[in-house]
């Protein structure tokens, strides 16, 4: 178990560095969808550094695992992990929000290696992921598809079309993480459109499900190591997370959904995450 403990610690360090990269991007553009990027950061870091078969030297290798960020506005989390994993130079992070950047405010597969789908409009990523999973079952049975969805996009009906198809076709090579931070731009998700109980809804659509603390790296790792939960079924991991995770002044606040910081807030964010990185632990 010592190995697992060390793995978790290392992934926590990586996630802290990625969170610091998110703030670097916010500094570049002056604003960004920070809250959701921070809430899913531990999951995204664990996927790129512990679960997925991807190769930055050969980003389109046919048997790779796929990552689809259905909640495309959380793209700073993906960009941070891709940079950390060596898909592109860190200096690209300083182009975020700038003219003709490879890192637009929602990901573009034709601009940045490692991006698999052009998401941003909500409720699209799961259908695309189902198609990928179905295709890979035929061509590369070992390849897996991981999607990260936001809890705020769950009311989109297209998700449930895709969810039906995933279980109908027994896509156990597909895992969805619902980044359930409980908040969306106008307030609490349960007040805006109550999709609880999220896990039970996926289960009713034929999925195997599990609830975890999505900001507890040991729980994320454990979930990843036990996939699929059930052979013949797609997996939905309901990851309970905290919006703005890692920043004392932002955690659990709706206002960090799209964050346009003042200079002193930005400095504080940089300071807090620099300390976390230096400390070598979780943010």
């Amino acid at each position: 178990m010592a190995d697992t403990k060390e793995t978790v610690k290392e992934l926590e360090r990586i996630a802290s560095r990625c969170r610091r990269s998110v703030i670097r991007m916010v500094r570049s553009s002056g604003a960004g969808h920070m809250g959701g990027a921070m809430s899913c950061m531990d999951i995204v870091a664990a996927l790129y550094f512990h679960a997925m078969n991807v190769d930055p030297a050969y980003p389109n290798k046919p048997d790779r695992d796929r990552f689809v960020l259905s909640a495309g506005h959380k793209c700073m989390a993906q960009y941070a992990a891709l940079a950390e994993r060596g898909f592109f130079d860190f200096s690209e992070l300083d182009t975020y929000g700038k003219l003709n950047t490879k890192l637009p405010g929602h990901p573009d597969m034709h601009k940045l290696p490692g991006v698999e789908a052009n998401t941003g409009a909500l409720g699209h990523g799961l259908s695309i992921s189902v198609g990928m999973s179905l295709g890979l079952k035929r061509s590369h049975p070992g390849a897996r598809v991981f999607a990260v969805m936001g809890d705020g996009e769950l009311p989109e009906g297209s998700n449930w079309e895709a969810a039906s198809a995933a279980s109908h076709y027994g896509l156990d090579n597909l895992t969805v993480f619902v980044d359930d931070n409980g908040l969306q731009i106008s307030g609490r998700t349960v007040d805006i459109m109550n999709m609880e109980p999220v896990g039970a809804r996926f289960a009713a659509f034929g999925w195997a499900t599990k609830d975890i603390d999505g900001n507890d790296m040991s729980e994320v790792v454990e979930a990843l190591e036990k996939l699929p939960i059930e052979r013949g079924r797609p997996t939905a991991v309901i990851a309970h997370t905290v919006k703005g995770k890692g920043l004392s002044f932002a955690e659990g606040k709706v206002s960090c959904h799209y964050w346009k910081p003042k200079e002193d807030e930005l400095l504080q964010a940089e300071r807090e995450l620099d300390e976390a990185v230096k400390r070598g632990g979780a943010a």
Binding site: A117, H124, M132, R138, E161
Partner: protein, 313 residues
């Protein structure tokens, strides 16, 4: 000699089947729509390449995109409004923006689901699909062209929207080579150009014959690629005749006629008369009667062209 009529859906399904026998990457997607799209034989022969999803067109278009990322070539055919209007954002983002090699086919297009009413008519599909950058829009005009355009659609790597009708259509051309982006001159004439596409080119040919008897020589062009439009041919015809009529089973705005106007207003401005369905929810009734009601049968087209020629001196 009586022309031979064929069911466009059956011709389409058979053409996909034939292409699929040569290309193992072709897969067929169905939203409870495959049987009516002529895919019955394909399904029987290639059950592992036929995916049924039930009635979820938005999901199917997104899934098609995901399948295409793995190297497969998905074909999704269903009633035209349900593969264009309903899943438009999936078409735009997942297929268009992602530049995926997906073939979406709208059948029973235009007003061919005549008596079923406006929910089942498709009179804006040219307009909305040609607005998606990189999407090729095809409307083959006779059975031979359906066959050759299906082949061209698969030879072209990229998103394609094709529309076919419902009623049996006559064989119009002895040979139907298909070059995406190229129109064909069907009849030479000097008085007026008539540019037609898809299901109505049969009416256009008949109309041009009626017009001969009225002393009007029509330069008749078949334009089975709506996007990208054959700019050179449109301009050349406008230069030859000085006036242009367009004909399509589509709203008079946004489709072939508008595309022709866009070209001519930039390159060689002449008067253009657009024939199609007025921009309102179409009424319902038997198909042939509906075409006649909107002046889109041979007699109606001939009358409109004659009036236009008279009015434009």
């Amino acid at each position: 000699m009586e022309a031979k009529y064929s069911d466009p859906r059956k011709v389409f399904g058979a053409a996909v089947h034939e292409e699929a026998s040569r290309n193992p990457n072709i897969v067929v997607l169905s939203a409870d729509s495959g049987g009516s799209s002529g895919h019955g034989d394909f399904k029987n022969q290639y059950p592992d390449r036929y995916f049924e999803f039930g009635i979820m067109e938005q999901g199917v278009v997104g899934i098609a995109s995901g399948l295409a990322t793995t190297g497969l070539i998905p074909v999704f055919c269903a009633i035209a409004p349900f593969v264009t209007s309903r899943p438009f954002e999936m078409f735009r983002n997942d297929v268009g923006y992602m530049k995926q090699n997906v073939k979406i086919v709208g059948r029973n297009s235009g007003i061919s689901y005549s008596d079923l009413g406006a929910t089942h008519h498709s009179l804006e599909d040219f307009a909305i699909t040609r607005m998606i950058p990189g999407v090729t829009v095809l409307a083959p005009q006779d059975p031979g062209e359906i066959k050759s355009s299906v082949r061209a659609m698969f030879e072209h790597c990229g998103p394609v929207y094709m529309r076919i009708g419902n009623d049996p259509i006559p064989e119009l051309f002895p040979h139907s080579p298909f070059d995406i982006g190229r129109g064909r001159v069907i009849r030479n004439g000097e008085d007026v150009t008539l540019i037609s596409t898809g299901t109505l080119t049969g009416s256009a040919i008949e109309a041009s014959e009626i017009l001969v008897g009225r002393g009007i020589r029509t330069l008749l062009v078949g334009m089975p690629t709506v996007n990208p439009i054959d700019r050179d041919l449109v301009v050349e015809c406008a230069k030859r005749t000085g006036r242009v009529v367009t004909l399509e089973e589509h709203y008079v705005i946004g489709g072939l006629g508008t595309s022709v106007q866009e070209v001519l207003s930039e390159e060689f401005p002449v008067r253009v008369k657009k024939l199609g369905v007025p921009h309102a929810y179409a009424t319902s009734g038997p198909y042939r009667e509906l075409l006649s009601y909107y002046g889109l049968d041979a007699a109606g087209v001939a009358k409109s062209v004659e009036e236009f020629v008279g009015a434009s001196g």
